[in-house]
């Protein structure tokens, strides 16, 4: 590995920490500025002021915001994200419990999206303005336009209730991943298909493609080896961005399908104003975004020799 690449790596790691700190400050400030008090949510309407104060003291909410933030930061350095105000469970433990489900859903959605988007995008690019193109782009438009909170229940109605193929929700039955993965993956597939189409169309008009054809290579070799390989570079960037979005975008899908992941954990605890859990979830999602983007950038640099030379 060259010295320049190591320098880039160090720079990237530093920027990850910087963004992480920024997210932390922002989330902490926003959460505490939003009206609504966890103590109110916990004690209900009939609590006496003295009890409110006692609980606030026990939870450490009686201290000033900078002190609370410093304490949170101190814990974070030791890998301690605090404890849930409600259940008194360690936030790291709660996140670790939920993360596999979110990753499983995200990975399945990503694979589904890629396996739909690549053939659709290629077909559309090979037959511009033809039936395949219109069909693929029609699907793509539909995929982008249909919101997950609508698509999810419709899929449940058709495939769970109507056909009885898959369970309605949850994660404990065989096939339970299908509908949430399809719900989450459709929009991503739609965006990727459009990107593959436009990128491949552009590449297929390049001189080196004409040269490849002139050399007598088969159409499949020209498209897949010479065309698609180069067209995939911007697609890789988009996949990286979507990877991060899968963590946060799964909030609605996880809620609809009662999928026990980070998204549903976040929704449950936002309503309770459970600061440490919400902070932990948002931090994890944000870091997921940042790390995915950084890895994509690095991968992009490695994949494209021109960029490698520039660095």
């Amino acid at each position: 590995m060259s010295r320049a690449l190591i320098a880039v790596l160090i720079q990237r790691v530093f920027s990850v920490f910087l963004v992480g700190f920024g997210v932390l400050v922002l989330v902490f400030a926003l959460l505490h500025l939003v009206p609504g008090d966890p103590v109110d949510a916990m004690l209900g309407e009939t609590a006496r002021p003295a009890d409110r104060e006692a609980l606030r003291e026990r939870l450490g909410l009686d201290q000033s915001l900078p002190v609370q933030f410093a304490r949170y930061l101190g814990g974070l350095v030791r890998g301690d994200l605090g404890r849930s105000l409600y259940s008194d469970r360690a936030v790291t433990e709660m996140l670790a419990e939920r993360l596999p489900a979110t990753l499983e859903l995200g990975l399945a959605a990503l694979l589904l999206a890629l396996s739909l988007a690549l053939p659709l995008g290629i077909l559309a690019a090979l037959h511009p303005d033809g039936t395949w193109d219109r069909t693929a782009m029609g699907f793509s438009l539909l995929g982008v336009a249909v919101p997950n909170f609508w698509l999810g229940p419709v899929l449940i109605l058709v495939f769970s209730l109507g056909l009885g193929w898959f369970p309605v929700s949850g994660r404990d039955a065989p096939g339970s991943l299908v509908l949430p993965a399809f719900t989450l993956g459709t929009a991503m597939a739609a965006i990727l298909a459009r990107m593959v189409r436009s990128s491949l169309l552009e590449v297929l008009g390049e001189d080196y493609i004409r040269t490849a054809r002139a050399k007598g290579l088969s159409p499949a070799t020209v498209v897949l080896r010479h065309g698609l390989r180069n067209a995939l570079l911007p697609v890789i960037t988009l996949v990286g961005l979507q990877l991060g979005a899968l963590l946060s975008g799964a909030v609605i899908t996880e809620t609809v399908f009662a999928w026990p992941g980070i998204g549903s954990l976040l929704v449950e605890h936002i309503q309770r104003r459970d600061y440490p859990v919400v902070q932990g979830c948002v931090l994890l999602i944000a870091m997921g975004y940042v790390v995915a983007n950084q890895i994509t950038d690095l991968f992009y640099t490695l994949a494209d020799p021109r960029l490698r030379e520039r660095t």
């Binding site: 009206p35 008090d37 003295a50 006692a54 008194d88 096939g175």
Partner: protein, 492 residues
């Protein structure tokens, strides 16, 4: 390469899930329990599950009168109550016998300010707890309070257990089987080892669909009325209702120049067609309310029914103040962002427009809404009192010294007569005498209209034909799970 990708995808989708366990009886909940330690739990779901896992000294009957659960009691003196533990429900799920030291330890823990238990407030009259023998507990008070037994509803925990929030050990009808994830709790019924799984499914539509597909056996409450109506029409589904006691009302700011006037409040009360709202929006799932305590509460007033719909009367009252449909009185009306509450508010807005009141409807997220109400930043709002059992709530809501943050007199209602009735009730020596004062107080409040009483929403349970034996409780608790059983194939 593509073959591998397809294989991986297939494996993930179909085989990547945990294998299904033997099917327990399943109930779907709208939210997960937060904490199953009765000394700290505050949310409704936790409280209902705690009732299944633990037992309390005292429970309530259908009229909300305190009745013995774990213990009988006698009043030795107005400041000394002696509780004698009964035989029933004395065995903790860890096998040990519950004794008076467990009772004392539970209450001492709650009373210790260091522990900051949210349940300390009602128990602060306890000055001393003694345990003369293993079956007897003496509570000494610093002043008399005939309502005292009704406060002893903290579930009794074994004194040696520490992590009850996550590993509850009680002497109730159920024991914890497993708690593999926050939204999935398995309880074992101790009498017959039947396992009941409580599953969190946030989306009400998905909860209903799971019931229809047989993935869950039972739902209770937290469903929009139209969804209940839809489920009622489905084959293989039974809907059961029970009158509830959660009191929905409209509150006014009595310090406001307009809502501070009784004529305006009466015009609002008479301009609302509650029958239409209950019939069309709530699908008949509510009973009209006349006061905070339901009429069959031991301290309730059965003669109060709220204000009848009288649009002409409302117009006359407003005309007297110079307002009418052509020249309406504008009031702001705050509500939460809950879709059903918002729909109800929209209907009230349309109804009041007919009599000459233009409502400026403002819906907020719960935190903002509740903050505004507590701070008195409103002219009119709608809310509900949930889970009220003892009449001391009337001091908390209507006494002139109960302004926030000391109490919940958010409308700043001040009435010397109401204060006197509350204080007389509190010093009365018997529940009957107290009930009489509280009935007079509620009649006075009904007249003064700091609140427009709306309705008590029903509790509703919906179950598939695969189960039987569940009954809906008056306060919406889950005690019916004690008798839930699978329907035998022959009877299906």
């Amino acid at each position: 390469m593509w073959r591998s990708v397809w294989f991986l995808l297939f494996a993930l989708l179909v085989g990547g899930c945990s294998p299904p366990d033997a099917r327990p009886l399943r109930m779907a909940l709208a939210s997960a329990p937060g904490n199953l330690d009765p000394r700290f739990a505050t949310d409704a779901v936790s409280a209902r599950i705690i009732r299944l896992l633990y037992r309390t000294l005292v429970d309530f009957d259908e009229q909300f009168r305190p009745v013995p659960d774990l213990a009988d009691w006698k009043v030795v003196s107005p400041v000394h109550y002696r509780f004698t533990l009964r035989e029933l429900g004395r065995e903790f799920s860890n096998g040990r016998r519950l004794d008076s030291e467990d009772v004392a330890a539970t209450y001492r823990f709650v009373l210790d300010p260091v522990n900051a238990s949210p349940h300390r407030a009602n128990l602060q009259r306890i000055s001393r707890i003694e345990t003369p023998d293993v079956d007897t507990v003496d509570f000494h008070l610093d002043r008399p309070d005939p309502l005292f037994p009704g406060y002893l509803v903290i579930a009794i925990v074994p004194r040696e257990e520490a992590d009850l929030g996550h590993a509850p050990v009680g002497s109730g009808g159920f024991a914890l089987e497993s708690w593999p994830e926050e939204g999935r709790l398995r309880l074992r019924r101790r009498a017959d080892d039947v396992v009941v799984e409580l599953l969190t499914v946030k989306d009400p539509t998905v909860r209903a669909l799971k019931l229809l597909r047989g993935e869950v056996d039972l739902l209770q409450n937290d469903l929009p009325p139209e969804l209940v109506g839809y489920l009622r029409e489905q084959d293989g589904v039974a809907v059961e209702r029970r009158n509830g006691s959660n009191f929905s009302y409209l509150g006014f700011n009595l310090q406001d120049p307009w809502t501070g006037r009784r004529e305006v409040r009466e015009a609002v009360a008479k301009g609302i067609d509650r029958a239409a709202i209950v019939r069309y929006l709530l699908k008949g799932g509510a009973a009209f309310a006349g006061a905070l305590l339901p009429p069959d509460h031991w301290a309730g007033n059965p003669n109060l029914h709220g204000y009848d719909y009288d649009p002409d009367g409302a117009r006359r009252l407003l005309a007297g103040l110079g307002f009418g449909p052509e020249h309406p009185l504008t009031l702001s009306y705050k509500t939460s962002s809950d879709p059903l509450r918002l729909r109800i508010a929209t209907v009230i807005q349309a109804q009041l427009r007919q009599v000459g009141i233009e409502l400026d409807l403002r819906s907020y997220d719960w935190g903002t809404f509740y903050g505004d109400i507590k701070a008195g930043r409103f002219q009119m709002y709608s809310l509900a009192w949930v889970g009220i059992k003892t009449p001391d709530i009337l001091r908390y809501v209507f006494h002139s010294r109960s302004l926030p943050p000391e109490g919940a007199n958010r409308g700043r209602y001040r009435s010397a007569a109401a204060d006197a009735l509350i204080e007389s009730a509190e010093t009365a020596s018997t529940l009957e005498a107290q009930a009489s004062y509280y009935r007079q107080l509620q009649a006075l409040i009904h007249h003064d209209l700091p609140y427009v009483p709306l309705w008590y929403e029903d509790h509703v349970a919906i179950h598939g034909r695969s189960v039987t034996g569940f009954t809906v409780a008056r306060d919406g608790n889950y005690d019916g799970l004690n008798h839930l059983r699978p329907q035998s194939r022959e009877s299906l």
